[in-house]
Symmetry: C2
Amino acid sequence: MISKLIDAIVNKKAPVVAGLDPNLKFIPEHILKEAYGERGETLEGAADAILKFNKGIIDATCDLIPAVKPQIAMYEQFGIPGLMAYKDTVDYCHEKGLIVIADVKRGDIGSTSESYALAHLGKVKIGNSKVSPFDADFATVNPYLGTDGVKSFIDVCNENDRGIFVLVKTSNPSSGEFQDRMVYEGEGSEDTGELDKLEGAEETAQSPLFEVVAKKVREWGETSMDGTYSNVGAVVGATYPSQGEAARKLMPNTYILVPGYGAQGGKASDLKVFFNKDGLGAIVNSSRGIIAAYTKEPYSERFKPEDFAEASREAVKDMIKDINENAF
Amino acid sequence: MISKLIDAIVNKKAPVVAGLDPNLKFIPEHILKEAYGERGETLEGAADAILKFNKGIIDATCDLIPAVKPQIAMYEQFGIPGLMAYKDTVDYCHEKGLIVIADVKRGDIGSTSESYALAHLGKVKIGNSKVSPFDADFATVNPYLGTDGVKSFIDVCNENDRGIFVLVKTSNPSSGEFQDRMVYEGEGSEDTGELDKLEGAEETAQSPLFEVVAKKVREWGETSMDGTYSNVGAVVGATYPSQGEAARKLMPNTYILVPGYGAQGGKASDLKVFFNKDGLGAIVNSSRGIIAAYTKEPYSERFKPEDFAEASREAVKDMIKDINENAF
């Protein structure tokens, strides 16, 4: 699946993904009014508004971008109707030829991770039939539970030609709290039920936790290669370029999904370190910067709320130009 | 909310939670046949079977136990119909007076975590109305993203009298890979965009990562006290009693949700370290051991698949007896 994503990035000259995170406060009044008029100020009304808003943005940008990244929390907060809008969004993106990165940040013990993997990337067996429940192309995965929590995802990826992006260094302000913590490089204990107090620990190498996770991602990735790159990617925030540089070196064949550009503060010049010399290796996400463009300068001067989708198209063009000019 | 859970535990003399993780392979043939007959071998058919199975177990055990813990992955794998069965299960448990711990293991950057928290524990605002999407009493939370990813949950808990259990040391075989890794106690970097290579690091105290997380849980918990205990609890697996002992000492006012008893290998005598001297402080989960009891000795000899719910009731009684006799 990563080779399919790379082909789309190269063809469109756009290492860019649009984050479809439709917070109600980003949705223009005329869409809300129509949806609430038809379905009331209910979960169903909110879900209708989200889907209408998404379709506008997808229609206006699908020829420019290779992929979208819906953040499922924004749909899950509207319960079952919200998740139906999520599923309809995934399907609509596929109809428009877009690759879908499901930002679900799931992760659990092995057998439970398998269920999440089947839900989002695979097929569940029901009697003698097999069904794809949510049918995304990639999913984001939380590594805190270790290998058995991630391996189930990789197995499902290998069976269905799908991919994952594992959280390595996230873009948020508190991400350093645990992820930058200096740790010993030696293996953690596994399955012993005992604390392995490392003997002579002061002599072993030290690195931040996210680097230990990055090395695991590289190792996991070797079990799912698809051309030069692996179907096991990583998430590293644009807001932390020095960690990005370290992560890039530790995972040469890993695609990096980079959130945090734009609204969260990451600049295109910060992105250089995330790319490999082949011009590949990273795909940059922007959510609010694209979907709420009509509310922000310079677009708010040129576009009315009714023209939100056109504003998003302009924002995508500007983002692609910015990255191609300043990130290489 | 934790005081409500404690009252229920004390009243029923049962520090026990039933894990409602309805894998299709645990569901008796007669239920599957009926559901598939009505709805086909479809997501809807699987969801119907799950809900019927759950209701049987809930009816047979609700007078004995204070709480249930549905694992949402088991429902999410059946897409929208599966999640409808999840929501119906939550509502049915509430009708029967049970407290619901949503095992969702969500966690994201602050603003996104807020959406997850509203989805599972709070109310979303839609126009001028407020709606509870999934309406559980507790949710499990992944701490890998740090304070801003957890604080949004706590804020929603404080507004709605709900609680969370933060993953500290999980029950699975690979949990030590990162969670037992020896780390420096000094703070990780926060919001600097730079790697803080700790100077003189060899002189600072060292402890496993899960202990650093445990200390954060205690700190977070102080912002949501509800009597002696906090609404911010922790997850520590029964499969790791020595880590459980360390976690108990580091978080004296934190309730610990203990998975891993029974099918995963944890024994009642291993559970002593998880309880405080007041006989409180821990609630032990069993999933397969309860819901699939009719497939396992000694229950499989006495109960037919048609009597699965009665087998679950016997398994719950035996579990409560085992814990009350051997875990204190």
